[in-house]
Each structure stands twice: as C-alpha cells, then as structure tokens.
C-alpha cells in the first residue's frame, strides 16, 4: 500500500504509530476498505484526507489529470481560429470559450493535487508523452465550421460523460465538475448556434457545416471509449461510483440526443446504417472504426505530433518567464526579511 512519492497520508500516519501497528496494516486496510466501500455505497463524498484504496487514488489521478490535459490540449484546435473568427462577436465568444477551457484545466489540476501529485509533475508527464489526453483533439480544424462542430458534438459528448461526474464519489472532482458542466453546456449551445448560422447561410457555408459534421461525427462517438466489453477500467470505476453509466449507454444517449439536432440543421449524419428503432426508442448506428481509434490513441492521429509540440514549445519558451517570476519572488522575500532584521 505504500507509495514511492511519500505523500500517502494513511501510511504516513501509520509510521508515526510504530511498528506494532504496521504489522496489522494488511488486516487494517481490509477493514478500511470495507468502510470506504460502505461510505461510497451510501453516496457519501470521499474527501482528500479520508482513507482511500491506493487503486482508487491512482484511478482518480489518471482520470482527472487526463481530463485536465484534454482541456489544455483542447485549447489548441479551437484557438487556431481566434485570429480568423469571422465576426467580432464570434471572436469574443471563441476567446472566452478557449479561456474557459484553460480555466477548467487549472481547476482540474488543482483537484488532482488534492490526491498528492503536483501540477508540474502532471504537466511533465504530458509533455514527455507519458500521459494521455482525449484523442479527439488530435484532429485538425481546417475551417470555421470545425469550431462549431467541436462545440456542438465534442462538447456535447463531453457533457454526456461529465454530468454524471458531478455525482462522483470523490468530493473535489465532483464539485469541480458542477462548474465545468455549466460552462460546457454553454459552449455546446454556442457551437450549435454556429452550426445553425452556417446551415441557414450561403451554399458555401452549408457545405462547410456538412463537411465539418462529416469530420467530427465518428471521432465524437469514439470519445465515449471502447465498448463495455472492451473497457478495462469500467467495472471497478462503477463500484467506486467514479463512473455511473457504461460507455455504450452514454454513447447511445448522445446519438439519441444529437440525431434530431442534425435533422433540425438539415445536415446529414455520415452513417448509412443510421436508422430509428421505434420499438426501442433509439437511433441505431453503424460500426465504429476502432482501428482508427487505436491508431490515434497510439499517436498516429493527424495532429498528435503538432499538439504536443505546441504544448512543449509553450512550456520551453515560457521557462525563462517562470524562472524570472520565482527569482523575483525570492528577491522580494529576501528584501522583506532584511528590512525586518
């Protein structure tokens, strides 16, 4: 149960109790684990200083930091259009949106820090290519309509995933998600509004909207992750109430929501197998290309390299700035001390 980073509050506490207690650690942790699960089952929130199984902590660190990385990398594809947004209103909305994503990243890194990992360490993992982020951001945004499609589909899919996380068993994550989901739903509406304008616009604009839907539809469905049968982490996360619905359930819900929205726009979903199943009250969709999903995940997507390079460049070129801020703060502190002496 001990962790290398030396920040495990539980085992640190045991250290101070002496060796007799350590002997009972395995037995004790079994009891702790039962108590933990009872609390989770009773829908109590687990807080940073509470005992938690090491695997629960690690799962949360992985999931929340991946989420944070996704927000930060996700600033890039849409940020690509800030300087070219086609009206000043759209530019304003887009900057505010990309800024929100940065805010979500900062917020989520803080939530991860409550689990004993620093933001610097997590960002280091991202830049070294060791940490994952949502593969969707490895697709390019060649047109303005891609900004609309991301808001509508990608943020729409994110909301499906994230609303249940507001009830996640881990308190800091659940609370962060309440705010994040409010902003995401605003983004989703803005994205849909862009698509609405385009699909009611000129022939070229309509075409732009359709092409963007064609590009983002399947990757959006992939955002929910592998199907339940293939998903490694699902069952345990459900028991821990980190996850509330299966990948396939959420994906189906997304499709059911989104197909009528596409119809309202007069756009065609790029799936010849898509049909309404009246009996089940669902839209049935075609087979997802999981090979593409795997390839993008492994780093072979269209923009994996560019996205990481952009993050690394920002980090490297910003180093002297961060160093200067630290040096200035140290000098200030020294001046204050010498004045006080």
């Amino acid at each position: 149960m001990r962790r290398d980073s030396g920040v495990d509050l539980y085992t640190q506490g045991l250290d101070s109790l002496g060796k007799d207690c350590l002997r009972d650690e395995a037995e004790e942790s079994g009891t702790f684990e039962q108590r933990f699960q009872t609390r989770v089952d009773a829908e109590e929130k687990i807080e940073p200083k509470d005992w938690m199984p090491e695997a629960y902590r690690r799962t949360l660190i992985r999931q929340i930091s991946q989420h944070a990385h996704s927000e930060i990398v996700g600033m890039l594809p849409e940020g690509n259009w800030i300087t070219r947004a086609p009206s000043l209103l759209r530019k304003t909305i887009l900057i505010a949106k990309v800024q929100d994503e940065g805010g979500h990243g900062a917020y989520l890194y803080s939530a991860t820090e409550t689990l004993g990992v620093s933001r610097d360490e997590l960002i280091g993992q991202l830049l070294e290519g060791k940490a994952k982020y949502s593969s969707i951001f490895n697709y390019p945004t060649p047109t303005w309509a891609d900004v609309g499609a991301i808001g509508w589909l990608v943020d729409g899919a994110a909301i499906m995933n994230q609303v249940p996380l507001c009830r996640c068993s881990y308190g800091p994550y659940a609370r962060a998600m309440v705010r994040i989901c409010k902003e995401e739903s605003f983004h989703q509406r803005q994205g849909y509004e862009i698509m609405m304008r385009l699909s009611r616009g000129t022939t070229a604009q309509k075409d732009m909207a359709q092409q963007a839907l064609n590009r983002w539809w399947w990757p959006s469905l992939m955002m929910f992750g592998p199907s339940d049968a293939e998903s490694k982490h699902s069952a345990q996360s459900m028991r821990w109430k980190i996850k509330r619905f299966s990948n396939d359930e959420l994906r189906q819900k997304f499709v059911d929501y989104t197909v009528p929205q596409a119809e309202f726009l007069g756009l065609t979903i790029p799936d010849p197998d898509l049909r309404r199943d009246e009996a089940a009250q669902h839209y049935r969709f075609g087979t997802i290309d999981w090979n593409e999903f795997e390839q993008v995940l492994k780093g072979h997507g269209p923009c994996n390299r560019e996205r990481l390079e952009a993050r690394r460049r920002a980090h490297d070129e910003g180093r002297w700035v961060r160093d200067a801020a630290i040096a200035h703060a140290a000098k200030q502190a020294a001046r204050k001390n010498s004045r006080a002496a």
């Binding site: 900057i95 505010a96 800024q99 940065g102 920002a314 002297w320």
Partner: protein, 249 residues
C-alpha cells in the same frame, strides 16, 4: 472623414489590433494563468473596440457596422497606433508593449471621463476600470521580469529599446487631435504625456529598467501610415470574412 469619427476610430482600432495580437497567445502562454490573463485583457479590449467601432459607424453615418469597419477596411484606413501592431515577440516583448499601451490608455480614458461627448464618456467609464486591471497585470509582469533573472532583465530591456521609439506617436498632436481638444471631446495627445511619463517611470524604477532616449522619427499609424506588420495582421483577421461577401456568421 470628420475629425470626431477619425478620433473614435483611432481609439477603437488601437484596442482592436492589440486584442487581435493578444489573441495569438491564447493556448501558447508561459503558464495556464497567463493564458487566462492574456485572454482576459484581449476580451476587454475587444469589447472596447466593438463599442467604439459601432459608435464610429454611427458618427460616419454610412450605415457601417462594427464588422464592416473591422473586416472590410483597407490597411491605410486603420487608424491604430503603430505600437499595437508590432509582433508579440517573446512574452517579455508582449508585456512591454502591453504596459506602454495600458499606461497610455489609462491616461486617455481617465481624461475622456470629462468628455463633452456623452457616448465617449460612457465608454471611458467602463474602459477605465478594465484598463486599471490591465495596467496592474502588465506592470506586475514588467517588474517580475525586469527584477527577476539576468536573462529576463536583458530580454525586457531589449524589448523596451525596440518598442520605445513607437511611443512618440501616442503624444504627437495633429490636426484631428487639435479639433477634438478644442471641441472638448478629448484631450490633445500631448496632454497625456506628463501623466504617462510619471506612471511609466515609477514602474521602470521598480523593474530596474532604463527608459531609452526618444528617437526623433515618429510613426503615423493614427493617420493610416503603418509599419510592415499591420498588413499581415489584417490579412489573417479579415481572410474568412472577406472570402464570403455578405454572409452572416
């Protein structure tokens, strides 16, 4: 163009082009907090630009909207100060540019609170609050960088040397400024110099930076004569809008 409209456009375009430049940073800043901070300043400036452009359109009386003015004017019709169209460079250069402009805008907006033009006074009342925050942000960073490490000091001192000659334009009064000042609409450009100099000098002292000597050449962006950079800024900013004439977004 009547001086009143030209005057409003000068202020509007300066905010717009600076907002555009800051927008280039979003997602690429040295830390997440700076992504958020630069985006905030960019959004405020964009907000100011939109109010001022709409007003300039009304003064012009040809039915042009904020977007018509932002997206469909040529380079020589833009009346922003040449300083704001300069490239971002490194974060230090962006901070120096921002600081010099923030200190100038604060003087300007404070004096515009007394404008006989109620619309301008109203816009200034909102902008002055935002600009105080911008100045706090840029001055804070200027001090951090100037005082921080040898490298950061050298970088911002170099940026200051590079950008300083472009500040002369901010305080050179021309025919438009004279008419505006006479009508009580706004201060003469030179009237902003004492307050600006005092603010700037105080922060330079704290940042251990030396103000370069003013060079004699003055730029004339506010008369539509720009550096080589504005053309590229506009080419990028206007490209999509111009590719679809008459479309709405």
């Amino acid at each position: 163009m009547m001086p009143h409209c030209a005057y409003v456009l000068r202020i509007a375009d300066t905010s717009l082009i600076l907002a555009q430049r800051l927008g280039e940073w979003v997602g690429h800043a040295p830390a997440i907090e700076e992504d958020l901070g630069l985006a905030n300043v960019s959004l405020d400036l964009l907000g100011q630009a939109r109010m001022l452009l709409s007003y300039a359109g009304e003064l012009e009386g040809r039915g042009r909207s904020e977007d018509d003015l932002a997206y469909l004017r040529e380079e020589s019709e833009f009346l922003n100060a040449t300083l704001v169209e300069q490239p971002n460079g490194d974060f230090g250069q962006t901070v120096v540019r921002q600081f010099l402009v923030d200190a100038w805008q604060l003087e300007l907006y404070e004096q515009l609170l007394e404008s006989k033009d109620p619309r301008l006074a109203e816009i200034a009342a909102k902008a002055v609050k935002e600009t105080r925050y911008h100045l706090r942000y840029s001055a804070g960073w200027l001090v951090r960088l100037g005082d921080g490490t040898d490298e950061s000091h050298a970088r911002v001192q170099d940026a200051l040397t590079r950008l300083w000659p472009l500040t002369g334009e901010l305080f050179s009064t021309d025919e438009v400024d004279r008419e505006i000042a006479q009508a009580g609409i706004g201060p003469a450009a030179e009237a902003l110099l004492p307050g600006w100099s005092a603010r700037v000098a105080a922060v330079f002292a704290e940042a251990r930076l030396a103000a370069p000597v003013m060079s004699p050449f003055s730029w004339h962006g506010k008369q539509g004569r720009h550096s080589e950079h504005l053309g590229f800024v506009l080419a990028e900013m206007q490209s999509l809008h111009r590719a679809h004439p008459g479309a709405t977004w």
